[in-house]
Symmetry: C2
Subunit: 324 residues, 2 copies
C-alpha cells in the first residue's frame, strides 16, 4: 500500500503538494497536478481515511442501536435510516441488543472513543444515566433518555385511540390487548393506556396482557395465544402488535373462529406482510420513513452544532384491512 510520501517521492514533489492535488484544495499547477494524479493512480494510492478522521475528528459513522433487527418494523427502520445517512455522506454501524446485556454500553463507549460520531438508539437495555454527561450527539427513537436528549416517536396516544375507535365502532364488548414490556417508560406504551382509557370511557372492559412477540418462537407463542383465548372466552376484540395479531388470526383459523365475524383484530405497525394475509390485518401504521428521516435530520443538526427540537411526534394512521 503506497502512502502519500511515496507518491511525493515518485512525482518529485513535497507531500503537501500531493495532498492538495488529491483533495483539490489550495493552489497547485495544472501541470504538476496532472502528473501527481497519474502517479497516484499508477501506484494505486489510497488516502488513509483513518488519518483523515483523526485530523478532522470525524469518522463519518453513526451508530444505530435496535433491540432486534429481525423484527420487520426495525429492519425497515434500519433500511431507511441507512439510506438517509448515506444521502448525508454518513455510514451506518449497527448493534442488536437483544439477548446480549452490554451491547448498548459498548456503543456508548465507541462514541467516547471517537469510533462513531453519534448514536441513534431505540433500545431499552440501559438506564438513562448511561447517557448523561456524554457530550456527544445522541438521538432517542421511541425512547426517553432525559430532558437534554432529543426524542422522536410516533403519536402512540393517537394510535391507541384509533384502535379503540375501530373496535368500538365494530361493536366489541370484551377486548384483550397485548403489550410489550410495560416496565420501561417508553412512548409506545402510551397506546395501551390510551386504548384502555377510551374503551373504559365507553364502558367496555379491557384485559391487558404483557407478552413479547417474536415470529421465530412459533410453537411457543401459538400455544400461549390459544391459552389466553381459552381463559378469556368472551373476548370479541384484540389489540396487539402485528405479530401478535397474526398469531391470533392463525389461532382463529385453526379453531374455526370467524374473523371479523366473531373476533375482531387490530394490529400495530402495519408491517408489509400483513397485507398478504386473508383476511388482511387491520392495523395502525407508523410512518417509518418519516421516523428515519427525522432521526437522521436531527442527528445532522446535532453534528453541525445547530439547535434541534427536543421532541418530534409523527402521525399514525389506520391501515384498512378486513379483520375489523
Amino acid at each position: 500500500m503506497a502512502n502519500i510520501r511515496e507518491v511525493a517521492k515518485h512525482a518529485g514533489v513535497g507531500v503537501g503538494t500531493v495532498s492538495r492535488a488529491i483533495n483539490g484544495s489550495g493552489y497547485v499547477a495544472e501541470e504538476t497536478k496532472k502528473r501527481i494524479l497519474a502517479i497516484a493512480d499508477e501506484l494505486g494510492y489510497n488516502p488513509n481515511e483513518l488519518v483523515r478522521s483523526l485530523i478532522h475528528n470525524r469518522t463519518g459513522i453513526v451508530g444505530i442501536v435496535v433491540p432486534d433487527m429481525e423484527n420487520p418494523f426495525f429492519s425497515k427502520l434500519l433500511k431507511y435510516i441507512e439510506i438517509e445517512l448515506y444521502k448525508n455522506d454518513y455510514k451506518t454501524l449497527i448493534c442488536n441488543t437483544i439477548g446480549i446485556s452490554n451491547r448498548e454500553q459498548d456503543f456508548i463507549d465507541m462514541l467516547k472513543q471517537n469510533v462513531v460520531d453519534g448514536i441513534i438508539t431505540s433500545a431499552h437495555s440501559l438506564e438513562n444515566e448511561a447517557y448523561h454527561g456524554l457530550n456527544k450527539p445522541v438521538v432517542a427513537l421511541e425512547r426517553n433518555l432525559g430532558p437534554h436528549i432529543p426524542r422522536i416517536h410516533s403519536d402512540h396516544k393517537k394510535g391507541g385511540r384509533l384502535a379503540a375507535k375501530l373496535l368500538l365502532e365494530a361493536g366489541c364488548r370484551n377486548v384483550l390487548q397485548f403489550g410489550c414490556s410495560f416496565r420501561t417508560d417508553t412512548p409506545d406504551n402510551d397506546r395501551h393506556t390510551e386504548f384502555r382509557r377510551v374503551m373504559e370511557e365507553h364502558g367496555i372492559s379491557v384485559k391487558t396482557v404483557e407478552k413479547s412477540w417474536s415470529m421465530a418462537e412459533y410453537d411457543y407463542y401459538r400455544k400461549v395465544m390459544a391459552q389466553y383465548i381459552d381463559i378469556y372466552r368472551e373476548v370479541d376484540g384484540v389489540f396487539s402488535t402485528d405479530i401478535g395479531g397474526l398469531y391470533c388470526l392463525d389461532m382463529a383459523a385453526h379453531r374455526g373462529i370467524q374473523v371479523p365475524g366473531q373476533l375482531k383484530i387490530v394490529g400495530y405497525d402495519a408491517i408489509d406482510v400483513t397485507r398478504l394475509f386473508t383476511p388482511e390485518l387491520t392495523s395502525i401504521a407508523q410512518d417509518i420513513r418519516g421516523l428515519a428521516r427525522a432521526c437522521v435530520d436531527t442527528m445532522m443538526n446535532l453534528l453541525a452544532g445547530k439547535a434541534v427540537k427536543m421532541e418530534q411526534v409523527l402521525d399514525v394512521s389506520v391501515q384498512r384491512g378486513e379483520t375489523v
Copy 2:
C-alpha cells in the same frame, strides 16, 4: 476530552507510563498504576480508538453488503452475522445496495482506505473485476467473485431437487416457477435449473418466469400474480421465493382456488412468517445461522492470515407445511 498527555501531567508521570497502565502492558508499579487509573477516571479519559486503529492498522469493523435488508432473509442473516462478529470482537457496518448504484463500490473503497478490515458481500450490483487486485479480506455470500475469493452458499441444487420432488409426489403436471434475476450467474439460480431438469426428466412441463419479489409493492405484485395465473390456466404447481409463494396463496384465497387441492405451492427460504399463514407454506429452508457463522469464521481466518476453504456449501431442508 482529556487526552493521554493531560493524564500524564496530572499524575506527574510520562505518557508511556500512562499508556502501559491503561493497557496493562509492560511494567508499571502497582502504586503508580492505581494513581494513574484514578486520575484517568477522574478526568474522564477515553483512549482514542482512531489512533489505536491507525497504529495497529485495524479498525475492528467488518462491512456487510446486502441487496435489501428489509427482506426477511437478509434481515435475519444480518442479525446473525452481527452476533457472530460481536463474539469475535468486531463491529458491523452495513450497506444496502438496492436502488443506489455505487454503494458497493463505496464499500470497496472503504476497504482500500482502511475504514473496514474486511467485507462480506451478497450483492450483485458490480462486476467481479471490482474485487480484483484488492488484497484484502473479502467473503462472497451467495455469489461468485472469482477463484481467489472464498464463497459460501446453500446447496441450491439440492433445494431445487427437493422442491421438484415435493411437487412431483403431489402429482403436479403443469408447474410454474418464479425466479429472480437470471442474468447474474449466482449460486441460488441453480435451484431453478435443477428444478426444471428434474421435472422434465419426469415429463412435466415447466414454465419459468423472472420476477423480483418485494413485499412492499403489494398492489403491483398482486396484479402480476393474477395475470400469470390467468395466462397459465392449467398450472397446478408453483415454485417461488416465499414472498412470491405468499402472493400466490393470497391470490388463490381471493379466487377461491383450493390450496393444496387445486394448486400446490413450494416456497424458498422458509422465512418465519410463512408458518403464520393458513395453510402454512411448504418451503425449502436455508441454514441462515450456519451461513452467518461460516461467513464470519471465514472472515476471521482471512484476517488472521490463515488458509480458508474456497467454497463452503450448506445444507438445505424441507419445511413441511400445508401447501403441497
